[in-house]
Symmetry: C2
Subunit: 223 residues, 2 copies
DNA sequence: TTAATTTGGTTGCCAGGGCAACGGACATTC
DNA sequence: GAATGTCCGTTGCCCTGGCAACCAAATTAA
């Protein structure tokens, strides 16, 4: 069990030495998934949430006409099922699939709020609950930020809204931005056609609004 | 303080008689807002969350070119700032404005997780924390569901995705759906033009896919 | 009652962007 | 080296849907 990387936000403020008994007490397990294996299926109810320890996954939605839409990209440290586990009885709208061989730390949500039954051997129960809430809030914020982009009417305004937010996060006034996506990922996130995105990006570069090479973007002053 | 309506999810599982001391202990206050008054401004950091007791509010985004986009509609029992209060230091992306004279139960997020300092007079602290997490998760789920609609490529598929979800919630196999929106609200939620929505709805009615009068919709079998 | 306002359906216009197809730049493998 | 794959920019075609303008019905005010 000591394959838990340090600095996971879920364990922030918890002493490294307290982790083993805490993990044991909350019934944490490590699950492994092979490439293309399903972690959560659409329609399933979910009682565990997970932290991706290694590998990569994505959540995708199969809509009624069979189109496959990417909803989220999950990297190590990222979180799986944190929303669903916290609302009892809801069925998953998305399918979560491992994109590479992956390891997932899985914890029953019910054990997060539960009173400790191991006679006080584990410390950090409250901290863990607080961290869970914090992770959940962060996740909600991410969803909110994406909606912010999706609500924009044009490809251009979608891109600008997105870049401005990244610039904001990267530090005040910063304008050099390293995207977490390649072009295709960026297009999927903004829900636009990849070629339409390329077209608009070139246009914006030509007009001097932005500059970019690969996934490094530069946001010019007036944005 | 005894103007708290019963059945607020935030207080589920907490005895009515325990409420007063609990509310006192978490420093809950009731704030009143006049029509068009701002509850949270864009860019503000937020440390309190709120439950709307009466009135109505909406959160809206002023994008860079001044366009005003409605993000959420908040009705009594609904929740304000629950995400932001739980992530320290983030600035609000949206403006929350009262649409009518409103009353808001406001609670500092910091008091939710905090240890009680009133000598045990208040019961239900853990329950309150659990309820907060549950509300937050539900909010996140709502955001997720909206993204689900927004990701759909056409007006028609947006509408169907939305209606199918409502039908699902309304009970298994149910196909008679009472929308919480008028046409304009529906268009804003799905982020489409109102007239384009009307156009597509008529088309779908003509094709026998759906039927509707006012805000009552009927989803035919094959959907 | 009539006037005024809100709500929602209709229609013509036209541009933004989805789609498909292609090609060039790099990287990887044999 | 050739061969294969991936990533990304470009372009033409054409349809969806945004926009504006208008109207009918319903609702509210006067």
């Amino acid at each position: 069990m000591n394959i838990i990387p340090p600095n996971l936000p879920l364990f922030a403020g918890i002493l490294q030495e307290d982790l083993p008994s805490l993990l044991y007490c909350v019934r944490a397990t490590v699950e492994t998934y092979k490439k293309r294996q399903t972690i959560i299926s659409q329609g399933e109810t979910v009682s565990n949430f997970g932290i991706l320890l290694s590998g990569q996954a994505r959540s995708l939605k199969l809509d009624a006409d069979g189109r496959q839409v990417i909803v989220t990209l999950i990297r190590p440290g990222g979180v799986v099922g944190i929303i669903l586990a916290a609302v009892t009885g809801e069925r998953s709208l998305v399918e979560v699939v491992a994109e590479e061989d992956s390891r997932l730390l899985s914890i029953p949500f019910a054990r997060i709020g539960a009173v400790c039954d191991c006679g006080g051997a584990c410390r950090g129960r409250e901290q863990l609950a607080a961290n869970y809430t914090s992770l959940l809030a962060r996740k909600a914020l991410e969803l909110h930020e994406r909606i912010d982009c999706l609500l924009e009417p044009s490809v251009r305004s979608k891109v600008l809204t997105y870049l401005r937010r990244l610039a904001m996060e990267e530090g005040e006034g910063a304008s050099k931005i390293a995207l977490p996506f390649d072009r295709e990922g960026m297009a999927e996130y903004l829900n636009v056609d990849r070629s339409a995105l390329s077209r608009e990006l070139s246009r914006m570069k030509r007009e001097g609004l932005i500059d970019y090479r690969k996934n490094i973007f530069l946001l010019k002053a007036q944005c």
